[in-house]
Symmetry: C3
Subunit: 245 residues, 3 copies
């Protein structure tokens, strides 16, 4: 059983983030909230996402699984104005999810979750931690996009840098410690990542959200940030690319 | 003879509505105003439209016919800013219509009307009448568009509903009597219509315009609404689709 | 050596104008400012452009040449917000130009200028001079665009006119002397021009800029206007088309 009301902005934020990785997703529903784990088809990135009951305007659920097509949820979100509350209810008899926005009722078949297994999340112990606003990262990404398909993240005791080397051009965004919310880096670390994955995720995060970057040498980066005013959160893991030079 | 001045917004509203059905149109001009009757090439819908002299800033005409290419009128409208008055004058010697907007003069050849006969308008006696704002209908249309190519209109003594059934999904907008301007329905009526025709028309109507829907069972729907602050109006007739279930 | 700071709006305005003619350009740099001369590949139009040191927030240079790809400069401009100052510096050791906007550094290879010779600018003595705002010209261009590929400029002692004749339609914008900043025309002059060149240039000029048009009979038109609050300027020469009627 699952029945909840949620602000359209909250649902939109969550869907934007998940849909950077997958088209269909299985939500694990419990009395305390909902969560999901997903990897993209190429197994380059993994997302864990939690929305606690407090992220919803109202929430009532028992243990169940709900498989949804994210494009359909986006269609529903287009029917909601800013500030609208969307009501969602599982119709177990018909295998449907029922959305209500004002006078509109939108029913959709659920996606079969039997073949969707939860990915195993690797336990990584990464020392370096940088806390930076998504807006700053978005600036660095825009500069990188015209230069190369890869982006290097580098941090040392006194700076954090996004950089990008093309055949003829280069771009970088350098943030000194004073421009960061936190810079806790024991020694220089650097890894290279696919720009599209990094860019799609960071662009889906509101510019004023503080994002934690946990970085090591030629190692996956862990990107953590809160959702729904702290009533939820995302842990995102992105595999590095091999630096060829 | 035809010479008139009209607010660009008024002309734009009229052109938007007609161009949902046809590309070229013959206006019948008289001393009291202008009118047109047109059917689309597939004979699915018919429009009657009237603009009285009061819909114009100035109006002076004797009986004549004017055939125009609506895309060209749209080009002219792009030259006018909000609040601009457009002057139109028939140049009978050259078979042209001359538009003036500020210092700009735009002359265009008229379309030959000799082969454009007026369609015969069927007299339909439909009892049920619903009065609803175009904005509410537009909300229901947006919900329906991702679900199916058809839309069902249903009314009973206490509600009016737009609904749509796809293979896996459904959408509906249900309006209780209290949400309607008028609901005068003796008994349940329902017909199915092609969504694109209904959608194109209703989206061309300003959201705050009150639209009258005259509905019967598996029968054409008549859609009536005023133009130009009541100095004109539209009668639109849309053929039903056969419901297969 | 070249090192300068410039408002993003100023650089954007300059790049928009040059890129209507060429993709790559050679700037001639000196201690007093920068300049360029360029013709389009079809040799239909020629541009001379000057930016004096006063057009920059800071400027320090000795004689050099800098070849740039304008699309790359446009990419850099997208990284700057309104009001941002862009710092530019030539890196002679690496043949690069280095842009800095806030924390972002963007390095790009310079274009080889050895094969880019300066076009010879013809000395034309044209009597008629019309001074008109770019915004008025833009209105006439919009009216002309749906009618024909050519635009005629005509001036006489008491008016200046943009006009356009298509097979079925015509458009014209007529400006009386009272609507012009200056109308200094000894006798009627008229030439025909390719609309796309004229349109692309005039649309790249801010609407409130006063543009001087020097016009003769079946002769190139000279279009002059200031840049960067008068700390620079453009001389543009456009070849006429032969009028066939």
């Amino acid at each position: 059983m699952f029945k909840a009301e949620v602000k359209s902005e909250t649902l939109k934020g969550v869907v934007n983030i998940i849909s950077t990785l997958v088209d269909e997703v299985k939500f694990t529903v419990g009395s305390e909230g909902i969560s999901l784990k997903a990897v993209d088809p190429a197994h380059v990135a993994m997302i864990e996402l939690r929305m606690e009951a407090g992220a919803f305007e109202s929430f009532s659920a028992s243990d169940t699984e709900i498989g949804v097509d994210l494009d359909k949820i986006k269609d529903v979100l287009k029917l909601a104005g800013s500030g609208d509350v969307i009501s969602m209810e599982q119709d177990e008899d018909h295998g449907r999810l029922v959305f209500r926005i004002g006078n509109i009722t939108r029913r959709m078949n659920l996606v079969d979750t039997s073949s969707m297994s939860d990915p195993k999340v690797p336990q990584l112990d990464i020392q370096s931690s940088i806390l930076v606003s998504a807006g700053e990262l978005q600036k660095g990404i825009r500069a990188a996009e015209t230069v190369s398909d890869h982006i290097a993240l580098t941090a040392d005791a006194d700076f954090f840098e996004l950089s990008c080397e093309g055949d003829t051009d280069s771009a970088n965004l350098r943030l000194e410690a004073s421009m960061l919310e936190r810079l806790d880096v024991p020694g220089r670390v650097r890894s290279l990542f696919p720009l599209d994955y990094f860019s799609n995720l960071i662009k889906a995060v509101p510019a004023d959200t503080k994002v934690e970057i946990r970085l090591d040498n030629d190692y996956p980066v862990k990107i953590k940030f809160p959702l729904a005013d702290g009533n939820g959160g995302v842990d995102y893991l992105l595999a590095p690319r091999i630096e060829s030079d």
